[in-house]
């Protein structure tokens, strides 16, 4: 059942088997497994619980209600770009594009070798991947339903002879409204509140909303987790309403790549390896805007409906892209009247971009509520991003775009393939300005079997505190190269089953 702040006026305590912090894909999948196995589960979530009617076109409402820090988290380093994290019951799955790729075999094998991970292979993960795919309802829409922003991209790929396909997405009857990032107003997106969390609630789980966990208490004698404290706050005033203490036999952290290390670092726990908050990666991406003669109406298209893995061996994935208008404005260089003039043709815009499997590595530090994300892109990644920008522009030009805006410090406007190819032949590294965003923050509590080099083992169990588990994107040993939610849920199902089997 969903519990809301208006129900509580004074501090209270709860006793439970498992307390889960964070109701995103990781926390949701873990709560489902444990509640279905008959464990008493309590979930604490920083954000609220929403229904489709709450998702309006008001972008400011969406940013403030559905994103941690209003979506205004930036990296500091040689590049300055936004890295966003969802909040609310559903976590990032509320605001993501529903892309549901399974973990790529090459990456799973690489992780297994690197972290010496036990029983960790494409074959051993397969049953969990299949369970996730079934639960979240993977839909592969017919091309005719994707909207023009995706079909022009497909045509461009075909002209260039690049491979690609319709993106598998966790939706049920998607109407291609282009608004995934602000929450799905039609209820088609199968975010985890609709499946894992609602099933966990059916099995007796209570989900406390607007509950910010801040303190974790460890019994010094036994070195075991004992209880935690959360503040329940009023979402309108952000003022504290009361405090909630939860005593539990196990603690599952699933606060995501910033939320989880933040709790560990503030409470000074689970960091004997020194790896908490390190190894931050985010799949940085770049994007281009193509202007066509015909109306594309990306805002009536599936947000990210078509992809190309032509360059996946090089760690570049091309995907279509549609974003709220403010984001498009940014791809148009210059200031003042010029960009606004271009935005007048918004209906004729098409967008796509490239995301890379980054090897650059960052670190987090915390000061009170504030997180600092230090992340420096290395030369290899900058070159991959430059190639990604080139390929994205190439596809849209091949599809018939009249103008391409590929914002970079040297030349941003292209009108022919020859002009584009000449430019990119001579410029293989356009520098960090071309990064638009990196919305897949990950890796800050990485898994591995060696306690000196990792925070948790491959089942998500802390090396330092045996009844503390992490089931979220922070445990990834490195970048994945594809959108991560299915992998997060896969690892959470696997870890939570292991937890249940080793409960005592």
């Amino acid at each position: 059942m969903i519990r809301r702040p208006e129900e509580f006026d004074s501090d209270f305590n709860l006793d439970t088997d498992v307390v889960v912090v964070g109701a995103g894909p990781g926390g949701g999948a873990a709560a489902y497994v444990l509640a279905s196995a008959g464990r008493k589960v309590v979930v604490l979530e920083l954000g609220g619980h929403f229904s489709p009617k709450d998702f309006t076109k008001d972008g400011i409402d969406a940013l403030t209600n559905l994103y941690q820090d209003g979506g205004q988290r930036f990296t500091l380093g040689n590049a300055f770009f936004v890295t966003m994290f969802g909040k609310g019951v559903g976590g990032g799955s509320l605001v993501n594009s529903a892309i549901s790729f399974k973990p790529p075999d090459k990456v799973v094998k690489f992780w297994a070798d690197q972290g010496n991970l036990k029983d960790f292979s494409p074959e051993s993960l397969k049953p969990f991947v299949e369970k996730v795919q079934k639960k979240i309802n993977i839909e592969i829409l017919d091309v005719s339903k994707l909207g023009r922003n995706n079909t022009v991209f497909k045509e461009g790929l075909e002209k260039l002879g690049f491979k690609g396909g319709v993106v598998p997405r966790n939706t049920l009857g998607c109407v291609a409204c282009g608004r995934c990032f602000y929450g799905c107003p039609s209820g088609a997106k199968q975010s985890v509140d609709k499946n894992f969390i609602s099933k966990a609630m059916g099995a007796g789980t209570d989900v406390y909303t607007y509950a910010r966990v801040s303190r974790i208490d460890i019994n010094e004698k036994t070195n075991q987790f004992e209880s935690l404290m959360a503040v329940i706050y009023d979402p309108k005033t952000l003022k504290t309403k009361c405090r909630l203490t939860v005593n539990a036999k196990h603690l599952v952290l699933a606060g995501g790549a910033v939320g989880t290390p933040s709790l560990l670092m503030k409470n000074k726990i689970c960091n004997s390896s020194g790896q908490v908050g390190q190894n931050f990666r985010c799949h940085p991406s770049t994007s281009v805007t193509g202007i066509f003669d015909e109306p594309i109406m990306g805002y009536r298209s599936v947000v990210q409906g078509y992809y190309s893995d032509e360059f996946f061996d090089k760690d570049i994935l091309l995907e279509t892209y549609w974003a709220p208008a403010g984001m498009f404005g940014l791809t148009i260089p210059g200031m003042g009247k010029g960009p606004v003039e271009v935005m007048k043709n918004y209906k004729n815009f098409a967008g796509c971009g490239a995301m890379i499997r980054d090897e650059s590595s960052g670190s987090l530090s915390f000061e009170g509520e504030k997180v600092q994300i230090k992340y420096v892109l290395n030369e290899r990644d900058l070159k991959l991003l430059t190639e990604g920008m080139f390929r994205s522009a190439e596809v849209l030009l091949a599809a018939g775009a009249k103008t391409i805006y590929a914002d970079n410090p040297l030349k941003s406007k292209f009108e022919s393939l020859t002009e584009l190819r000449n430019f990119f032949d001579q410029n293989k590294n356009l520098g960090p300005d071309i990064v638009r965003e990196g919305n897949h923050g990950l890796g800050t509590c990485r898994m591995g079997e060696d306690p000196r080099k990792s925070v948790v083992n491959s089942f998500g169990r802390s090396h330092d505190i045996k009844n503390l588990w992490i089931f979220d994107v922070s445990t990834f040993p490195g970048a994945l190269g594809v959108n991560p939610q299915v992998t997060i849920m896969t690892l959470a199902l696997r870890g939570a089953e292991y937890l249940d089997g080793n409960f005592h």
Partner: protein, 171 residues
């Protein structure tokens, strides 16, 4: 790719500007400053509201192709709405940024008046200088401001109504 390195003269002038002229400009601005008072703002001070509007005026000129001015969407109030539910460190960061824009930005073009007291053309010149600067940090700063203004402006239902042409499939 290589960016032009700033010359020693540019570096010297830059540090002179920040260490000597900035405090001076601040003192002058506090002494002789003046802003129209805004009511109903939750987070922004009337000064900050004026600075936000001054940025909006440059990036989204009144005579624009979309036909919706920043005044028609009450831009400063929208900024306020956005910031008022942010965690305190974001709000403090925004306050600092507004201060920098108002007092330090003009020095980039050796204007010794506050940003809000400059003409739109003068403000445009400053922002363009930053945008074309060889320093990644300077470019990032002005792009961050552009992102902020665009986010507020293009997210407004009145603006969306003008640019999203075609039937809404969610209704």
């Amino acid at each position: 790719m290589s960016f032009k390195k700033p010359t020693r003269r540019q570096v010297l002038l830059g540090s002179l500007a920040t260490t000597v002229l900035a405090p001076l400009s601040y003192i002058l601005s506090v002494t002789f400053g003046g802003y129209a008072t805004r009511t109903g703002l939750k987070f922004l001070t009337s000064k900050e509201a004026a600075i936000a509007e001054a940025l909006g005026e440059v990036m989204i000129p009144e005579e624009n192709a979309i036909g919706v001015s920043i005044y028609q969407i009450d831009f400063a109030n929208e900024v306020d709405r956005f910031l008022s539910v942010m965690p305190s460190h974001n709000r403090n960061g925004a306050s600092l940024l507004f201060w920098i824009v108002e007092h330090l930005f003009p020095l980039r073009c050796f204007y010794f008046r506050k940003f809000t007291r400059l003409t739109i053309a003068e403000r445009y010149k400053i922002l363009s200088r930053f945008d074309e600067s060889p320093s990644v940090g300077n470019r990032a700063l002005v792009r961050g401001l552009k992102a902020f203004v665009h986010l507020i402006y293009y997210n407004h239902p009145k603006v969306i109504g003008q640019i999203e042409i075609g039937k809404d499939c969610t209704k």
